[in-house]
Symmetry: C2
Subunit: 417 residues, 2 copies
């Protein structure tokens, strides 16, 4: 076990232990946000035949070479083809067929004239333009042909993928399983949110914040409840989470006499990979694994609410994204002008909660006030985390800094109307 | 009814008809992503009392003014306070109390010395530092005091808000209702995805893509199925969606003889606000409302798969976000270098499907190949939509253009490890 690792070392260590989870077949129509685990090739040609891109008339372009606004050409309309229909016979020279969007082009026709460029005259049509061959015709296979790649393994399934899979008749697809996360809080001072805390007691809010973070990351979270500060109760709670992919506890991983987490984890067969990350908030973070994957990845997060959330964001979230098969594990980042100077002692990386605003010269980042790791309200106010590097001791006001964005809404741009 | 409106006019018209939906009380622990509809003030002081931020010893700072590494000061440890516990008596001058993170500071004590700065000696402790008064003490109310604003109405509930609400014991909160969206496809050529299309038939994939877009936007979507191209069947399908907040149909709103959507909607009492938007893909878009809100907002989207998805993105998505109470309705946008020249006739705004890549000089946007409105694969490949303004006819290669980002993953930045 290593102690007091850097943020980068910790991130490398946790990601090295996370591999994409196994597969399950789910309805493509409900697979939104999941990661496809198979290459889907098209079993169909789409569109299946040359078809009309417009409502209008199917024609032979050569018949209309001389047509213009000044000198329209009139053709007899010999039949009609609706979407879903078929031309009864070949279209011969000098004939037109009424046609609708999506309908197959009759044999013999090679162009479509838009309805707007024509005038219906009884059973004939007067055409005011000279179409090029192929005008307003969607060619068979324009979208995909049989055997073409349609959606690649590793794609995050969004609405376009759902539509594509539906159009191919692929109603069931293989995706990576969602990570299962079990969350517990430890501490004799904790009560559940629907209980009234006695003096000295507080609500076990970390379990709820961490379970929410897991859900935001696409995982399935369950709450194992509150473990008391004794080895037997901790062991009982940890055992209840051993079938999860990731086990997250908060509190109890520090140096005090009351910290039973580490010995209990070791008793259960968990090997600690590292303990302590040189960061603030969040130094007392532990990470462990079970030999040969015979148990969950275990994160012992600090007990302070902000420390718990920030360490989850930095280390657990990327692991959950990787387990789910995603190829990007990070957050959007923006470069922002720091509006007030920050200072600290060198040695630990600080993650400063900031609000982001659009200034005249791009993004501005303003610390959310108290950076105490107990001030939950600072996480409510924060749009992002500004990384104050370990070796640095001063970040001047006006300097440009990178901020990882926690609130995606802050990046939204409203369109003028 | 107006015809042939601009993109901006259409956006203003649809947003003017959308107002945040009514309230419902839900479990705060399951309210992730919903918009809070009440100002939540704190009913508690957090932390409820001065408490220790570290494991160590509670002391009177004055007793340790001379303590140093060279000359430690030894104090008797008179009792222990665990988190959730209480000091039995006041701490007197010259005494120390063992204390753990989160435990209340004993009356009489004014500082905490970290365990790392001490040495336990039987029932005494030797202290190697001179703490300032207040050291490692979290003050009562440091997070919130009774009556303080905790989470404001209009906030999108993220993990921090869930934790904050839990810590206040607010297990139920008022949020805006989710929009209910009903989706139908119209056309005689359509079959469901689990059916085998006969020649001339295609899958009604638009319903699935549009329902997915609605879900991605946070709405509850249901699929009304396929309406055939006859007024009675269309009316039956539309009636089934009249209890929704938003009714979305695709296909059937064009100029052809087979388009029964508009007369059916008018028969049901829907007033068309506009028909036709000067854009590509997607001109044949209709928007209607029922007088005095006695029915859903109705969007008649074009039938081409890409036109349907792009018009949903531009007009339905912001409406769904506004209905759900969100204060930002847009997408993130980036400025990107266009890698190939684009040209078109002036008159319509084009939305060009592009892939985004990080180049040496910032984002680069590359069109996804065929911009035909039937090529679903272009939506699978697209990271964003580049807006080619209505009046413009050329966008030179190398020019900087704004792109609205459809695939949030593309913005993710991986951390070095």
């Amino acid at each position: 076990m290593r102690a007091g690792v850097s943020v980068g070392e910790a991130r490398a260590a946790v990601l090295a232990e996370a591999q994409p989870l196994g597969l399950e077949r789910v309805s493509a129509l409900d697979a939104l946000g999941r990661v496809l685990a198979e290459d889907v090739a098209s079993g169909r040609t789409l569109p299946p035949a040359d078809c009309s891109a417009m409502d209008g008339y199917a024609v032979r372009a050569a018949d209309l070479a001389s047509a213009s606004h000044a000198k329209p050409v009139t053709l007899p309309v010999v039949y009609e083809v609706a979407a879903g229909g078929q031309a009864p016979v070949e279209l011969r020279a000098g004939e037109a067929a009424r046609i609708f969007t999506g309908a197959p082009i009759p044999p013999g026709a090679d162009a479509v004239v838009r309805q707007e460029d024509t005038e219906a005259e009884g059973s004939s049509v007067s055409v005011r333009v000279a179409p090029a061959s192929g005008s307003h015709v969607r060619e068979a296979g324009e979208d995909v042909c049989v055997g073409d790649p349609a959606v690649a393994a590793g794609a995050c399934i969004r609405s376009g993928e759902v539509g594509m899979l539906a159009s191919l008749g692929r109603t069931l697809v293989s995706v990576h399983r969602r990570p299962r996360v079990a969350v517990l809080s430890g501490g004799d001072e904790l009560v559940e949110p629907d209980e009234t805390p006695a003096p000295g007691q507080i609500v076990a809010s970390n379990s709820y914040a961490l379970a929410s973070q897991a859900r935001e990351a696409g995982a399935v979270a369950r709450n194992l409840g509150i473990a008391r500060d004794d080895p037997a109760d901790l062991e009982r709670h940890f055992r209840a989470g051993l079938d999860a992919d990731v086990l997250v506890s908060s509190a109890g991983v520090s140096v005090g006499d009351h910290d039973h987490v580490r010995p209990v984890l070791e008793k259960l067969g968990c090997r600690l990979v590292f303990w302590g990350v040189r960061m603030k908030p969040g130094y007392p973070l532990a990470f462990g694994t079970f030999p040969e994957g015979r148990g969950p990845l275990v994160f012992g997060l600090p007990g302070n609410p902000v420390s718990a959330m920030v360490t989850f964001e930095l280390f657990v979230r990327p692991v959950l994204r990787k387990l789910a098969g995603h190829r990007s594990w990070g957050r959007p980042q923006v470069e922002a002008t720091l509006v007030e100077a920050l200072s600290k002692k060198p040695g630990r990386t600080h993650f400063v909660r900031v609000q982001l605003h659009r200034g005249t010269d791009g993004w501005e980042a303003r610390p959310t006030g108290s950076q105490s790791s107990g001030v939950m309200r600072s996480m409510v106010l924060a749009d992002g985390l500004l990384e104050f590097p370990a070796d640095a001791s001063e970040l001047p006001a006006g300097s440009r800094q990178r901020v990882r964005v926690l609130a995606p809404d802050v990046l939204a741009v409203e369109d003028p109307s």
